[in-house]
Symmetry: C3
Subunit: 455 residues, 3 copies
Amino acid sequence: MGCVQSFRELCDRQKNTNVRKSLPAVCIVWQTAMIILFGVFIRYNEEADPHWVEHRHTNNISSDIENDFYYRYPSFQDVHVMIFVGFGFLMTFLKRYSFGAVGFNFLIAAFGLQWALLMQGWFHSLDYTDGKIKIGVESMINADFCVAGCLIAYGAVLGKVSAVQLLVMTLFGVTLFAVEEYIILNVVHARDAGGSMVIHTFGAYYGLSISWMLYRPNLDQSDRLHGSVYHSDVFAMIGTLFLWMFWPSLNSAITDHGDGQHRAAINTYLALAATVLTTVAISSLFQKHGKLDMVHIQNSTLAGGVAVGTAAEFMLMPYGALIVGFCCGIISTLGYVYLTPFMEKYLKIQDMCGIHNLHAMPGVIGGIVGAITAASATESVYGVEGLINTFDFEKDFKDMVPSRQGGHQAAGLCVALCFGVGGGIAVGKFKKFTTDMINHVENGSIRESCFNVYE
Amino acid sequence: MGCVQSFRELCDRQKNTNVRKSLPAVCIVWQTAMIILFGVFIRYNEEADPHWVEHRHTNNISSDIENDFYYRYPSFQDVHVMIFVGFGFLMTFLKRYSFGAVGFNFLIAAFGLQWALLMQGWFHSLDYTDGKIKIGVESMINADFCVAGCLIAYGAVLGKVSAVQLLVMTLFGVTLFAVEEYIILNVVHARDAGGSMVIHTFGAYYGLSISWMLYRPNLDQSDRLHGSVYHSDVFAMIGTLFLWMFWPSLNSAITDHGDGQHRAAINTYLALAATVLTTVAISSLFQKHGKLDMVHIQNSTLAGGVAVGTAAEFMLMPYGALIVGFCCGIISTLGYVYLTPFMEKYLKIQDMCGIHNLHAMPGVIGGIVGAITAASATESVYGVEGLINTFDFEKDFKDMVPSRQGGHQAAGLCVALCFGVGGGIAVGKFKKFTTDMINHVENGSIRESCFNVYE
Amino acid sequence: MGCVQSFRELCDRQKNTNVRKSLPAVCIVWQTAMIILFGVFIRYNEEADPHWVEHRHTNNISSDIENDFYYRYPSFQDVHVMIFVGFGFLMTFLKRYSFGAVGFNFLIAAFGLQWALLMQGWFHSLDYTDGKIKIGVESMINADFCVAGCLIAYGAVLGKVSAVQLLVMTLFGVTLFAVEEYIILNVVHARDAGGSMVIHTFGAYYGLSISWMLYRPNLDQSDRLHGSVYHSDVFAMIGTLFLWMFWPSLNSAITDHGDGQHRAAINTYLALAATVLTTVAISSLFQKHGKLDMVHIQNSTLAGGVAVGTAAEFMLMPYGALIVGFCCGIISTLGYVYLTPFMEKYLKIQDMCGIHNLHAMPGVIGGIVGAITAASATESVYGVEGLINTFDFEKDFKDMVPSRQGGHQAAGLCVALCFGVGGGIAVGKFKKFTTDMINHVENGSIRESCFNVYE
């Protein structure tokens, strides 16, 4: 016994020595690389540059208030809260992994948003006249969106991976995201304001595929159930509520000025409200003694926001939003009851936070709802100009019609699925990564192995 | 003993079976009803509709930034946070009722806002040309306001009612609210930007009357005192602070564009600051050894925001706002010290969260302050146009004068009181409801009987 | 033993009697004074006054949306959250001092903002035509900024001072702040949008000097280490994250409309992201077994926001912001590892929250970065008009050139340092104050001596 003990200690010391070197090294080197790349590539766009005054005069803009900052900054801050407090606290439910949930969420989001500004910049806002990426408030929102995809993936492997592994996951995740997003939005010309496909479907399948590659039988599902304590579940509710409340801002953050943002906020607000009721209904129906399960309340209540992401800016109509929310609350909660245990037992996919129920399924539904809503758009409902604005039937796509747009939306969903599953498998197969990760989880226990805990 | 035990278990099983059926049934049926009613009645208003581009041209609106969305959306999000995090966490102070506080708050708010959109829509934004309710960002704010009234009422009966009973309370509460609001704002033509009368006075007396109807001697006040633990009181401070910080947004959310919103925010900011100091003073003065009581800090510090609700948009003047805050901090804290125990002992009204001190008394004060401020308005202070804008002396009321407006404000307060007390008694008398509720509270203990608690 | 015990009890009773009288007395008297002073001096400015409609016509302002309220209110609310939730919860890490951290933070901020409106008003917005201070949304932001300085100082003496002493510290702190701010911004003509010098350097040295004057050997550093429990550290993360997320709003809240606010937000966003990575790196490198320390994650991750405060509105460039964040994460974390123990042991300065690492050093760096960035400004980068707008080269300073502006910035930093150190020593020497404070800390223990704790 003593021998085993000391061998373990040896391993531990070994591992800790590696961590001691590798985490600082990765952070310093990658951050230095960011500085260099930002120095070469990134500049302010014309709305954040002191030449704005002249730009205003040239473009006949009557007032400073028409700077895009004032259209989007409040939404940006709401999205920012969702990324750091929302996702961070949503994952604090584990009894002894609150530091890791909030802390690593913080770390990978802070790295991810820098890399996202570069990757998305190269694809979307490269100024060919001087070879620079011009950033503004919309770039910051998009970077946060991109990070969201990686944080969703983190939910699948919560407690099972080290900080360095998470940073690697984020590096590849952001890269894949930017390519996928470019293909969906620019090549396929699908619209996806709230990212049902681009963010949620991609992020969830990316995380689940990695988790599948890393299946560890020791870490059984009982950890999930026994893992929360009373107060950690209350902390998780902070995450849930900030995500729930600010979801209308997420879905409307980068939609068209005016009616676009307005409508997206209304639709999301309604879909989320409906989801809460059906989540409670199903949770009560399928738990013993009709009691409610906090896991469902924490997660499934958000499914409506995911599912309405693509169609939020379309004429989904208020009742349409309610229907989407209604269905997603049911499907997502049933997922927690039946699908998550099934996936673990038979498919060997562990899903710590149940992201398949919260992001994957609602994301796919969101893509389908978007395709249907787009395909059924008519000029009488949108108006001539409204139709062009809403679906961006301009430039190369000025001959597009709604029915074809529906097909393009469906194609976009397929791209997101392929990138998620394919990318996740590729990253999961990355050998060194896997080996490390397996070493990391000893005896299947989830604990704050990376934090000093005084107690 | 064993016999009693098994009889209790039987009752429990019986009750649980009912809950198991009734909560899901109510949620699913009511949500389905919402979908149908929304399908029949609710559409986007012209600022959230794709025809907005054409609307802009027709109405000569120069820029998208003048869409009401940009005037009100940041305030809406702050109000939204108050409803879900503010009210939810404020009630988490009980040792073993944090799930219920946050979770049921979430459920009834999510249902209430849908029903409020319909009820308020029928009264306020029905388009007679096509029989549809047209919603926009202001409707969402108003729905949140309406829900606030019901959440205040929840505070009186915290821990004593089941989810279904709360939903019933909310259904009737929202209905009464919409009628009362219509009478006060449109018939009586009182102004009530922050809802001192419409929201707080109504909501508090509605809740207290229900609590009075349901008096249970077993559930004595000691539960309140022994009910909190250290960390649950810290959680409650999250609720307090988010309510306190965002109250300026609540009081300014639906006031007039420009100076109206600006002034309402300033007045509320000042009133709340003054309240904090007098609350601390009185709490320290009346507690043994001069120690502060967290219950006072959590609740009475908010009284100034309630009391300044009606007059916030008027020329209350900065010192006026401070005076209102000063008085309310004192009155509200004294209420916790003397009035709450008195009400329980002699009037048989249990008030779990002390809503009489936080909402009822400050709400009435707010109504009176509003009446006085309105009655003393002059053209020299407001300007000719300013007076008309601030008090809406237009259309049917274009011959109104400030002194008469003061009378109308007072009349509005009476309407709120009548609806609160009358409505609460009626709902409380609703027999089946009462019986259920009495069964629900066994041995006067407050615990998470509706949630799965692993520990 | 019994004798000592009873003597202590006597002292305790004595002290408590004083507290019982002094805290209520101070709160009531000071608040009354505020009401009188507000009555004499404070009025709404033209954008919050009902004459705004006429003001609009006179000044040819086309729309209500150009009211400053819509430019700054969302930022104001974010700053407000930083002050009350951010600073309040950041200090909840101590096991048995969460009430004091959140509660006293609340109290002194509520008093401080009123006094700040007066003090800053006399210096900055006094209308000489009628002798009144005209307040609007920008005044509220500035009052919150001023309060921030005092809350930073509170961090140095956390748990060691009573509520009355904190109020005295705040009274003098706000007064000194207003004078210092006037000298730096108006006399020296330095720019300091995010307050690296005005707020952070001043506030931190003010607090540290007071702490130095009050050195108590009994209260040793071990209290800091043993003082946190698992959940209190999670509460502190709420504070950290809200500060981190909303820092872009703080640095951009009072900068120029348009590109100024836009650029300040981008720079702060980037600097903070870089800080997270280097903080994690250094924390892992210097802790045993490469584990992360929550104290570093909670505090040092914010240093980048402090250090970018002055230069955020200048053309710091995105990579410049990253470099500043990079360095500050390293310096701040090293400060926690080496400097705080050193200061306590050799300099007899106790720094409970490590404000020297979070505010003092990054503040000074921010001042220097600001001076360098200003000195290297050119017309080609800023444009003719942009240069004038950004640095306010108008009126008395219309002949200013960037290189001289750099000197003025450096001079501003010196003023902040002098006021901080000098003011702190003066207040700390204030005899009665010191004696009280020493009595207050018995046996060097930090506990909720001022709050009723039921448990």
